[in-house]
């Protein structure tokens, strides 16, 4: 046994002692041996046999080859010659097969990783009438391939990082170099590098780490599950972050108005798009404010309604034992219970829960005089409106703020409503998403972008948004004559 064989033996013992579930396969040569070390669950065993073991066995009549020669014998694409033995365990945990050679102090790291993954599904959160049906899955390689498939640009950059001391999750930062604003790219990379945690399992965790301040309520990055939307964002000059193990990609920067746009806006008729965008703004306002306005009108400012409506509302509330604030808080609680239960229960009984919640409880509560029928209508509309914006991450802060608004309005009337709205507005205008003002292009106001954000479809627009300050502001190659 030569000196290198003894060293390899020691390495193998070290790996065994670490109990990471590594398997060993020795290939004896005429003088010495090569040992393949791998983790069975992460390795494609068939490929290992066919492309690593079998070619090496064909050379066992001679002395074990050196690292370069072995790399030539092994038939895989990603085969690296390394010498840092400290990196062996991390490589094994990452799915690499390590080939220790008794004839060379260096070793081979062969990528024949095999991870169980599902096939490319259809989107389940970002439905669209028109457009591709493929969306991201948990495998970052598959997700990258979907992006590469759509953007065949040599300037598409993919920067990889490892995040999480224990999970060592692979994070890929994607951007198109000659479009994306360098400052934004730098900021994204900086924030990802600064993440200090032992593990990142899902992109949502990374998103939380990348907030300006840890207590910020509004999301400063968008999420996409559709690869076409991620590509659209890249073409617009944004940065897309893929996280291994997460089917949601992150998009930065993202301004408030963009949370209201849907994937249909990329492909559909622009006039319909305009209508839908206005509808989504109205839906956002309804979901946020309508229950508070109900409290304000019923308890404080009765005179803002025409008399006939007032009489109708008074009649519907005649038997209700609670004041408007308590009534709204109770029914909001029930609505949240139904929403939460519908998310958790299996799809098949979801409809039954919906019927029980919406019809039976609603009908019974009205008949019993616990709630007024008008309030049920108000809350139902509010609930339906909350599902309209396509990016649900925007609705989470809205749901929280809605409760605050109801409490403030129930206590101070329209004064409280105005006060909370002013505070929220002040907060919104002070936020920046990776250096871009959150309420751009409305504050700071840019007429062209503001108009464009309503009137033109994104993909059809000849110019990229000014607020992104992209390197290449034009999407079309030349001006229209």
């Amino acid at each position: 046994m030569n000196r290198q064989s003894r060293t390899n033996q020691k390495i193998i013992i070290d790996i065994q002692q670490k109990r990471i579930g590594a398997a060993f396969r020795s290939i004896p040569f005429e003088s010495g041996a090569a040992t393949a070390v791998y983790i069975r669950e992460l390795t494609d065993i068939k490929t290992l046999g066919e492309l690593v073991i079998a070619p090496l066995e064909a050379h066992t009549h001679a002395a074990p080859p050196g690292a370069e020669r072995a790399a030539g014998i092994v038939g895989t694409e990603d085969c690296r010659v390394l010498s840092d033995t400290d990196s062996i365990v991390p490589l094994l945990l990452d799915g690499y097969t390590v080939l220790l050679l008794s004839g060379d102090r260096r070793f081979l790291a062969v990528d024949i990783k095999h991870v169980e993954k599902r096939s490319i599904p259809t989107p389940h959160s970002m439905y669209t009438m028109r457009g591709p049906r493929d969306c991201f899955i948990e495998s970052i390689e598959s997700n990258l391939s979907l992006v590469r498939y759509r953007i065949k640009d040599e300037n598409l950059r993919v920067c990889n990082r490892r995040v999480g001391r224990r999970t060592k999750t692979r994070v890929s930062i994607l951007y198109i170099e000659d479009i994306a604003n360098e400052r934004i790219v730098r900021e994204v990379k900086k924030r990802i590098s600064a993440v200090d945690t032992d593990g990142i399992i899902e992109s949502g965790e990374l998103q939380a780490f990348m907030l300006n301040r840890r207590l910020d309520l509004f999301p400063q990055m968008g999420i996409v599950e559709r690869s076409d939307m991620a590509c659209g964002a890249l073409l617009e000059g944004k940065v897309v972050v893929l996280v291994d193990g997460s089917e949601w990609a992150l998009v930065a920067p993202k301004v408030l108005s963009e949370f209201l746009w849907s994937c249909d806006d990329y492909y559909d008729n622009k006039y319909l798009g305009l209508l839908m965008r206005v509808l989504r703004v109205i839906a956002l306002f309804i979901s946020f404010a309508v229950s508070s306005l109900y409290v304000a009108i019923v308890s404080f400012h009765n005179d803002v309604l025409p008399s006939s409506y007032m009489i109708a509302i008074a009649e519907t509330r005649a038997k209700v034992p609670f004041n408007a604030l308590i009534e709204v808080l109770l029914i909001e609680l029930i609505a949240e219970l139904i929403r939460e239960s519908l998310i958790r229960v299996p799809t098949k009984i979801g409809a039954a829960v919906g019927i029980v919640g919406a019809i039976i409880i609603g009908q019974a509560a009205v008949s019993a005089g616990v709630f007024s029928p008008l309030l049920l209508i108000v809350i139902s509309i509010s609930l339906i409106a909350s599902f309209v914006p396509s990016d649900y991450t925007m609705m989470s802060p809205i749901r929280v703020l809605k409760l605050l608004l109801i409490l403030a309005t129930g206590t101070f009337g329209m004064f409280g409503f105005t006060l909370v709205c002013t505070i929220i507005l002040a907060n919104l205008v002070s936020i920046k998403s990776f250096g871009v003002p959150y309420v751009a292009p409305f504050a700071p106001f840019n007429a062209r972008d503001a108009l464009k954000s309503f009137f033109y479809s994104k993909s059809g627009a000849p110019m990229r948004p000014i607020f992104l300050r992209t390197k290449d502001p034009r999407r079309s190659s030349k001006k229209k004559q």
């Binding site: 009765n302 007032m310 008074a314 509330r317 209700v320 129930g410 101070f412």
Partner: protein
């Protein structure tokens, strides 16, 4: 940090002072009022309020409509009458929903300003509430069962607004009356609604001067008055032509202009009216040739001029001006207006009327050609 904390505390304090849940009264815990009527009977004032029955859903009638009830309060003064009314109420009265304010003829003859000044200090009271007078006993008017089970307050408002929209009536609101009451020498009119054969009908106008009733103009004699005060006045006239034929013509006010000017003989109010007219009905036997159209138009202008002149004569008769001449004069001659006693000066002013109309034969069949 301390400054920010102070700012937050100040904001909260301001919020607490400005409004609070202690001010809140839910809509169903108020007596929603759809009509207020004020009457003077001998030496006491009487308040009537019309309230929908909403408590526990028991206020609905057999058809499911809202049943309205009338509550009254009496007293030697307005304050006593209100206290009497309050003592009969289970919930606070909410006046923000009042559709109509009814003033009895007896109150109008006494003084309406006493009550109307009070409206300024009631923030709930909408300033666009229509005001009417009534010559019917108030109880009789309020006992009317309007169509569609609506309240009397709504019925009066709807009647007045419909007639105004059709160009056949004049509306008066509380804010206008308050403005007029504040101005010196300003007279005005209030529509008068009465109970007629179990229905509510607008029968005329009460002329108010210095807060008192100065006279009454029946609706039949108020066509000219409406032409002055309704910018979309619209009347129909049966116009004779060709010796034995008649055509019904609808005349719609297109424009009105009052131009005061000073002449050698004194102040002159040049008043011109332009109407668009259309033939509605006519004898089919005789065609409307150019001569006939000219004749009808000429006759129509005379009829319109007569009605407008009647309106001017009525102002002389009542000794007060309410047709809007004062506004036109004040705008044209503000300094002179300040110096003069408008009421006296107006009586001496000459009013020159000019009425023009453009007649449209109505696009009816050309019978001449048919023959």
């Amino acid at each position: 940090m301390v400054r920010k904390l102070l700012l937050a505390l100040m904001t909260l304090l301001a919020a607490l002072i400005s409004a609070g849940c202690w001010d809140a009264i839910d809509i169903n815990n108020k007596n929603i009022t759809t009509l207020v009527a004020v009457d003077k009977q001998e030496d006491e004032y009487v308040f009537y309020v019309e309230i929908p029955g909403i408590a526990n859903g028991s206020g609905n009638d057999e058809n499911g409509g809202t049943r309205y009830s009338i509550e009254t309060g009496r007293g030697a003064t307005f304050a006593q009458a209100r206290e009497d009314l309050n003592s009969k109420m289970d919930k606070p009265i909410f006046l923000g929903t009042v559709r109509t304010l009814v003033l009895s003829e007896s109150l109008a003859q006494d003084d309406i300003s006493k009550y109307l000044y009070r409206l300024q200090s009631i923030p709930d009271y909408r300033k666009t509430v229509g005001v009417v007078t009534t010559r019917s006993p108030v109880e009789t008017l309020l006992a009317v069962q309007p169509e569609n089970n609506v309240s009397v307050g709504y019925a009066i408002e709807d009647t007045a607004e419909t007639l105004f929209a059709e160009g056949e009536a004049v509306l008066t609101t509380t804010s206008e009356i308050l403005e007029w009451l504040y101005s010196d020498n300003v007279s005005f009119i209030i529509p008068n609604v009465d109970e007629t054969d179990g229905n509510i009908s607008l029968n005329g106008y009460t002329v108010i001067q210095d807060g008192h009733s100065a006279g009454y103009i029946p609706a039949q004699r108020a066509k000219g008055l409406v032409c002055f005060l309704n910018p979309a006045a619209e009347w129909r006239y049966v116009v004779p032509y060709g010796g034995r034929n008649e055509a019904t013509v609808e005349a719609t006010l297109k424009s009105k202009r009052i131009q005061p000017r000073k002449t050698e003989k004194g102040w002159m109010l040049d008043t011109s009216f332009v109407f668009d007219a259309i033939v509605m009905y006519k004898d089919t036997e005789t065609p409307l040739n150019d001569n006939a159209l000219f004749e009808i138009n000429d006759e129509l202008q005379k009829l319109l001029a007569a009605d407008i002149e009647t309106a001017v004569m009525q102002t002389r008769e009542f000794g007060c001006e309410y047709l809007g001449f004062d506004d036109a004069f004040r705008i044209s001659f503000p300094n002179e207006y300040e110096k003069m006693d408008w009421r006296t000066a107006y009586m001496r002013m000459a009013v020159r009327l000019s009425v023009k109309s453009t007649l449209d034969p109505g696009g009816m069949m050309d019978f001449e050609q048919k023959k």
